[in-house]
């Protein structure tokens, strides 16, 4: 087993936009710069904060706080509703800047991405990654705006590059090498490491690992056999030493949407309307990725935090909104009372081309496909939700499109 550190030159760069949505709003509205700003997904006092500006963080406001609690803390807090089109534009600008340096760019979410310089041209590599990091920071200011800042981390693998990018916020640039690895880890807590939350922390604590330095000192065998009881232990052993173990492409496993009801006293029909809206949205997303599904999963969260779910797998794949809603509605008949949140996911995904299998209902399916293709064509030409089911014609004001955190598939 490898017992050394990875001594190759650090060629992985992690870029993380600082307080992304709040910074973008401060960029677009100059009078909000240097002021406490919070971004929310819905214009109500009970909504949770999605992002907060550094000025708000300095006053004790944190993401996920409820707006009315944050306002008690900072009465001058400016709350703005999220503007997905604007954030998507900045995401695309950042992606374009990053792609100027390497063909191997992976966006991890709307506000962070990785540039792998291993196969970048010598002319790019010879500039030095630190110089490139500062250049990217400057380009972000020149090409998007002066209020935009990003944290940059450089290391020999993705994990350490992300760790480096979190060291000095905002606007930092840090490099982790085997020379300073122990010094950097010595200043962190276990939960500062990406991938170590409460459960993994408890596992590590159970064997006497309380700090990242203890974690680094643990043997591969201890991590594999005792702590993680799987190959994950070996991965952590290598990850901490700068070897790349996270360069894996994730496959789309499911497509879904959820919605917290705008009011908790909606009738069953009104809840079903919103479920129908979600099914239309999921169907549209799936078809834009050329996917069909065989499974539908629906869930509901009740006021007492009770979680209810149901699912069904069909023998043949489907992709029309009506097919998804038909199954979801049937499944939803068993949902409990007093629902606060609903969600629908399609899974067992397959390519739309693979749906050529003959069926007893071939004519009916062909008609359905023609209708779906025609409505999608109109929606693509004139805008999403130009044609929708009559049932969901007035749900758009509630179930509006939000920014997908953690995935860049729909950007």
């Amino acid at each position: 087993m490898v017992d050394e550190y990875n001594f190759e030159a650090p060629l992985v760069m992690h870029i993380d936009l600082n307080s992304c949505f709040a910074s973008i709003e401060q960029q677009s509205r100059p009078r909000l710069r240097n002021r406490p700003v919070a971004i929310v997904n819905r214009a109500t006092e009970h909504t949770a904060l999605v992002t907060v500006s550094y000025e708000a963080k300095a006053l004790g406001v944190q993401p996920l706080m409820r707006l009315h609690d944050a306002r008690k803390l900072v009465p001058s807090l400016v709350a703005l509703e999220s503007d997905p089109a604007k954030y998507r534009y900045v995401y695309k600008k950042l992606l374009a800047i990053m792609q100027d340096y390497s063909a191997h760019v992976t966006m991890k979410s709307i506000d962070e991405g990785i540039i792998d310089f291993h196969q970048a041209p010598v002319s790019v590599q010879s500039k030095g990654l630190e110089a490139i990091g500062y250049e990217i920071k400057q380009r972000l200011k020149d090409e998007v705006g002066v209020a935009m800042r990003c944290n940059t981390g450089i290391a020999s693998n993705r994990f350490l590059a992300k760790t480096a990018a979190s060291l000095n916020k905002p606007d930092g640039l840090d490099v982790i090498t085997p020379d300073n690895l122990k010094q950097v880890l010595g200043g962190l807590k276990l939960t500062d490491l990406t991938g170590i939350a409460s459960r993994n922390k408890a596992r590590l604590n159970a064997v006497g690992i309380f700090t990242p330095l203890d974690f680094l000192a643990a043997s591969e065998e201890t991590l594999r056999r005792v702590v993680f009881k799987s190959v994950d232990g070996t991965k952590w052993y290598r990850r901490l030493r700068g070897f790349e173990v996270d360069d894996v492409e994730s496959k789309v496993g499911r497509v879904g949407r959820q919605y917290v009801l705008e009011s908790f006293d909606l009738t069953q029909d009104e809840v079903l309307q919103r479920l129908h809206h979600l099914c239309e949205s999921v169907g549209w997303r799936m078809r834009r990725q050329n996917l069909a599904a065989r499974g539908v999963y629906v869930y509901a969260k009740a006021a007492d935090r009770q979680y209810w779910h149901a699912c069904q797998v069909s023998p043949l794949p489907f992709y029309s909104n009506q097919a998804i809603y038909g199954i979801a509605r049937r499944l939803f008949s068993g949902a409990p009372e007093g629902i606060r949140e609903i969600g629908v996911h399609c899974y067992e995904l397959t390519s739309m081309e693979s749906m050529g299998q003959m069926s007893l209902f071939a004519d009916e399916l062909a008609r359905e496909r023609a209708v779906v293709a025609a409505t999608d064509d109109i929606n693509e030409r004139y805008g999403e939700r130009t044609i929708v089911s009559a049932n969901t014609i007035d749900t758009g004001i509630y179930v509006s499109q939000k920014i997908p955190f953690g995935s860049t598939r729909y950007l």
Partner: protein, 87 residues
């Protein structure tokens, strides 16, 4: 939430089209009531798709209020859609 006004007002705009951060720079605009607003900073310009039609959204300020003006690249018209004089 805040005191932003949502509007849909056609406006007359003087703009410069030249290479740069936003490519198109609204310099000043005149509202239906005759009031002229001189843009002191363009915060951000971003495109928004309405199907295959693109509208370019400009968030601008004159120093005392923030405005959103939108340029419809198909009909070549400008509209004032947001105004906020205090946050």
């Amino acid at each position: 939430m805040n005191d932003e006004l949502v509007l849909n007002e056609q406006i007359d705009v003087v703009a410069l089209f030249r290479p740069g951060r936003t490519m198109c720079e609204p310099i000043k605009f005149r509202r239906r009531n005759g009031r002229e607003i001189v843009v002191t900073e363009i915060g951000l310009r971003h495109p928004r798709a309405h199907g295959r039609r693109t509208v370019h959204v400009f968030d601008v300020t004159d120093g005392s209020a923030d405005y959103r003006i939108e340029f419809d690249a198909e009909s070549l018209t400008w509209r004032l859609t947001r105004e906020a004089d205090k946050w």
